[in-house]
Assembly symmetry: C2
Homo-oligomer: 233 residues x 2
């Protein structure tokens, strides 16, 4: 019987693209900047995997995702004409934009229902304070915050999945990874976890997300309320 | 301004003594055992500090408190005529007794009110799965579960307080340790945290707990609802 569900967060639970665009505009438009905010959000996010890869490969020691978000912002500023924005403004933007992420409409209710059945925790590449802020922003309640900072490594490296199971004292076969990204699920399955794909067709823009898993998974659902309905108690 | 409150759990939030006594009786009485269950709970708890001290001193690597609870139970069994109880029964007792701990009457409401003002997390020597279970048993909601397992060390060693502040990305002066034990607070203060004493006069039996702090603290309250009333927003 399943004992815990582990959730990917960026893309699976929250719509980072429109949220980061909105927060960036909210902060920079009053300073006179006018740009394609959705393109800006996507460009910022595009630095996410390469930045983590340096840590995953061992070329760099573990740092929190907040640090990478700030560095990645610095790298894209020039391309969007933001090279003259003050450091303290960029500090604040990098901190807040990735905390004020709106959940997809099914998430708050879906997690509430799922928590009546099993332990639930984010197993994200985001750090603990970031996860706590996203939870507060959306009224989510977790049993614990697990993920990258617990393992000092980033998904899809095995240590992150292993550490999450160990934190709940559950064997991997009693844990399921829930994500809208097939790569995350394939990596979790390789560590013995069950896998649940959630359709998020609009993650990268309308129709530009994973509406279906791209590999075999244990379960595939349209949203978390559906998952709560079909998950055995 | 305060950003987070860190809570000691055993004794400060939950009445371990009567809860462990009750759970032990519930499990062992049907097997024909009849003993002074409160004395048994106190004897079990008396092994707590010496067991952790081996880890704190470096004589032993970090292990979860669940492991120490099980070992400590083994050590006291003979003295209570429980030497013939099967291992799997003792496994279950050690696991469940310290998860089914009842909170003091003010805790659920007090934490709910406090969470409207600041981040809240247990900073206990208990491990993550144990803390998650105690929270569920009492309907508590945390922003994150911090404490010994995050730091791989036990309080009052400095690493536990330092790791808790770092997890929330807060300087220690914006964090307060809340405990019914002066020693915990003195150690937190040494790391720069604020200190709040909660009166728990009956922790070790009627009148046998700390009703007042035994050293200087930043704030001393009777219970968590009072703390929620006096804590600046």
């Amino acid at each position: 019987m399943l004992g815990a569900l582990f959730f990917d967060v960026f893309g699976t639970l929250v719509d980072w693209r429109t949220s980061v665009a909105r927060e960036s505009e909210r902060m920079l438009a009053p300073l006179g900047y006018n740009l394609d905010w959705l393109a800006f959000a996507s460009a910022w996010r595009s630095r996410y995997q390469p930045a983590m890869e340096k840590v995953r490969s061992g070329a760099r020691g573990f740092v929190k995702l907040d640090v990478l978000h700030r560095e990645n912002l610095q790298e894209i500023c020039g391309g969007f004409g933001l090279q003259d924005v003050a450091d303290h403004v960029l500090d604040e933007l990098a901190w807040n934009a990735w905390r004020r992420l709106d959940a997809w409409p099914d998430v708050a209710e879906g997690l509430r229902l799922l928590r009546e059945k099993v332990l639930i925790a984010p197993v994200s590449n985001g750090n603990i304070s970031l996860m706590a802020a996203v939870a507060r922003h959306n009224g989510l309640s977790w049993d614990a915050v697990l993920g990258a900072e617990i393992a000092c490594d980033f998904k899809p490296n095995p240590a992150v999945y292993d550490a999450a199971c160990a934190s709940f004292d559950l064997p991997p076969e009693r844990c399921a990874m829930v994500a809208a990204h097939t790569g995350d699920l394939v990596a979790a399955a390789a560590r013995g976890l069950k896998t649940i794909h959630v359709s998020r067709p609009d993650e990268h823009g309308p129709g530009k997300g994973e509406s279906k898993p791209l590999a075999s998974v244990d379960l595939s659902v349209g949203n978390l309320i559906e998952l709560a309905r079909v998950l055995p108690s």
